[in-house]
Amino acid sequence: MAFISSGYNPDKPMENRITDIGPRKYDEFYPAVIAKNKGKWLYHEILEPGVLVHVSETGDEVYTVRVGGCRLMSVTHIREICEIADKHCDGHIRFTTRNNIEFMVDSKDKLQPLKDDLSSRKFPGGSLKFPIGGTGAGITNIIHTQGWIHCHTPATDASGTVKATMDVLFSDFQDMRLPAHLRVSMACCLNMCGAVHCSDIAILGYHRKPPMLDHEYLDKMCEIPLAIAACPTAAVKPAKIELADGTKVNSVSVNKERCMFCGNCYTMCPSMPLADDVGDGIVLMVGGKVSNRISNPKFSKVVVAFIPNEQPRWPTMTATIKRIVEAYAKDANKYERLGEWAERIGWERFFEKCELEFTHHLIDDFRDPAYYTWRQTSNFKF
């Protein structure tokens, strides 16, 4: 396409440059009923999965319809969201912290036409464009990352695994049958962008092979001390390497016995790639939460050490997640989050009920704090 200037002059880049204006102020985009009743809400109710009503002390009501969003969306899709908002909600919408979309209307008679409209929209492939749900004690959207779409350090895909998982768990998105919220998150490497370290169920991309070293370019591309300092187990050390043509270059060597394949050195140094088609896969973690309700926030814990990448549908991974969800739904008490349930019944029972194999990979061996994760009591169940 031919170049079309926006008015920016590359010869004088600092001329007419606007900076540090920040985001638009949130209240510019309030629906009228929200602006009017801000700070005056009395109570709310979940009318049905995906539909909430908030009642204000002035008597005003706002009805919210929450629909699933795929997070990675085209402008065409956003335009369609805008079109729905124009038709039903005076042009107002919002996105939630889990990337769902919320349409708000100010009276009950506007609710049914909005819901009917949303439910009627499908992609040509047949999937729902705007599935209503995600409220209460169910499974809402999956917080996820970039994966093979855009990132250079992933060990698995994000959008693909999330679509496969959400398809398997879809009935729980539109239902509220679980004992409490069940948050599922996904990160495609152990940088853990997002919420995997504090979610009820977490999907995490994982490598199983040490980095390959591109000695010819390493010193040119990388600041070697940074690559050394990036290693949590001190497996990387500086080295002089003789190349095939006889030249000596500065580089690093990796002690493979100490490497646990975190990929931090590749983040710092482009000449240490470690992605591998059969080596890479998925780790499942469970039992995290961020709320303070009843028990303190918890980290999620590794319960499945490795599941291979099986694109495009990751059947082993989704089946394992489904099994954990069903065991939790059947066994946990009301209001009990997955982590609270596992801690109450004991992790040995958790593995039994979820039919998961306990392997030595799950035993913490990272530095002094590992000791506190071992059992220093005779309290256990056979």
């Binding site: 590359p10 010869d11 004088k12 370019y217 040119k220 591309m221 990388c222 600041e223 001390p225 983040t267």
Partner: protein
């Protein structure tokens, strides 16, 4: 890796315009080439001071200095470094000094 020609010299650069090898980039032609790319009108002594500091530090330590170290040694506040190099100390100054491209979650 693309090639760039400037003032009779050929440089191997990556897609972001950083030079492949520090040794190759340690010359006046490279500085002039980046100056043109980065939209800097005139190189003054302050630009030179920043570039020399970055090169000295890199040769001595093998890494680019942290921003606070750069500020403290050159006595330029971060704001002033941005006035000298509009793209900032990483994308602007380090590129001009011939240092490797900054890595990590940038």
């Amino acid at each position: 890796m693309a090639q760039a020609e400037f003032m009779g010299k050929t440089f191997t650069i990556d897609e972001d315009g950083f030079i492949e090898s520090y040794e190759e980039g340690k010359c006046e032609e490279w500085i002039q080439y980046v100056k043109q790319q980065e939209g800097i009108d005139e190189l003054n002594d302050e630009h030179r001071k920043v570039i020399n500091m970055l090169q000295d530090y890199y040769e001595k330590n093998g890494i680019a200095p942290m921003v606070r170290v750069l500020s403290k040694v050159t006595k330029f506040k971060l704001k002033h470094i941005y006035e000298l190099f509009p793209s900032g100390p990483g994308k602007g100054a380090c590129k001009m000094a011939g240092l490797p491209k900054p890595t990590g979650c940038v």
